[in-house]
């Protein structure tokens, strides 16, 4: 924090996560439009009459007043703008919300990610309205990769940079994009990618959201899209993204007929 920073400041924020701290305090990880990701302290939040409790749950969009602290800033006031209640009541949407928060967390370090604030907020709003989940979540993943400098190459071969027709494309997770027929023997660990999957990903990457949200996605196609994107998100983050597995499990079970016993 520089010397000219005010002692107290107000900001909008999206709560990314919480963890326990000393006494009744918690450390709240927030994303703000000016600073990006930062850890801050919510003192007394575990006390029954805390005015902060309820306003700082992960996924909450809120107004905060913070005091500049020696190490971490202290949250003095918190007022919920939205907790996206519809998302809180639907398993697919809530799991997706938890997933996008984890993505933001894993792709940022303290003091970075301010340019993710708007895309994240828009994504949480779209999730809450219950729009096309596939376009919302994969659109966000691709936007996140773009902003953090990991834009996957979906039109050109990652090896020779030539334009590749979707029918001739192979997939390289490590290379972060597609590989042409000529280069496939030169690039290790490639896999097949169905032309339809690639076409949809291209649309999610380059079309305006309003248009890509109109694409009809069946559960088979969505499973393929998720597999490719989750693999990519984990590979670039260079660590596990636990909620991706949870999301796959939840959407897989959703497809089962009602009343079936799961073992």
């Amino acid at each position: 924090m520089n010397a000219r920073a005010p002692r107290v400041y107000s900001t909008q924020a999206i709560v990314i996560g919480q963890r326990e701290f000393v006494e009744a305090a918690k450390i709240i990880t927030i994303l703000t439009p000016d600073i990006g990701k930062q850890d801050s302290v919510a003192k007394g939040i575990l006390k029954p009459k805390s005015r902060l409790a309820g306003h700082l749950e992960p996924g909450t969009y809120c107004d905060l007043e913070l005091a500049v602290g020696k190490n971490l800033d202290i949250i003095r006031e918190a007022q919920t703008i939205s907790r996206f209640r519809a998302s809180q009541q639907n398993l697919m949407r809530l799991t997706t919300l938890v997933y996008v928060l984890e993505l933001v967390d894993k792709y940022t370090v303290d003091g970075t990610g301010s340019d993710l604030f708007e895309p994240l907020l828009v994504t949480l709003k779209r999730l809450d309205i219950g729009e096309n989940l596939s376009a919302v979540v994969h659109g966000f993943e691709l936007m996140l990769l773009e902003i953090t400098g990991f834009r996957p190459s979906l039109n050109q071969c990652v090896n020779c940079l030539s334009d590749v027709n979707s029918v001739q494309a192979n997939w390289s997770q490590d290379g972060g994009g597609i590989v042409c027929g000529q280069c496939v023997s030169l690039v290790p660990n490639t896999s097949l990618i169905e032309p339809k999957v690639l076409k949809v990903l291209r649309a999610y990457q380059s079309w305006p959201y309003e248009e890509s949200a109109r694409i009809t996605i069946d559960s088979y196609l969505e499973a393929q899209l998720s597999k490719i994107m989750h693999g990519l998100m984990k590979a670039f983050a260079e660590r596990d993204i636990k909620s991706a597995d949870l999301l796959e499990e939840v959407s897989w079970r959703k497809e089962l007929p009602e009343g079936r016993v799961i073992s």
Partner: protein, 215 residues
Amino acid sequence: MTFGDQEPILGSSNPYGGSSPINRLVSAFHMLPGIGPRSAQRLAYHVLRSPASEAQELANALLDVKENIILCTSCQNLASSSPCSLCDDSGRSQDLLCVVEEPLDVVAIERTGDFKGNYHVLHGVIAPRSGVGPEDLKIEELMNRLRISDNTFKEVIVATNPSTEGEATALYLAQLIHSLDLKVTRLARGLPTGSDVEYADIDTLGRALEFRHEI
């Protein structure tokens, strides 16, 4: 990480040295949840000043709890026997199963005296950011218990916290339990006693309105 302005506790410059017995004790207390460096230091000095018998009793109690407390194979709660006294109590309703996050939640619900059914302790919530997935909780045990109970349970009350992670866990469990054709309910949410409508978060207030009751 330090909290607020404070000098480092018993750093390398302290007269006891880095790995002295007192430093070891301070570190051990500091590992406990909610205990900051200052409190850890205070506790360690308290132990140091108290009679040897008191320290012995503390050490015995710590070891005793690790050696003699087990998980009840049925409800997964901490217990000194399995099945535990709650599971073994034939006076409790076999229709109702209340699923909670932690053993302390059982204690809290028991204190109300309003619940006479059975419990199941998950030992946490689904928290992907902290690396906790469904496989790390007692969910498989819960599903096995419901399956082998062969319809003795009529309703499963999911009493996880109304936090984002608690809600996610509740919805996840509901999806699983519905596949067994069992009724799943969630604890009602509203304003806590002694709270202030003015300061309530909109989520709590919204739900309190939604689940209002006639008086």
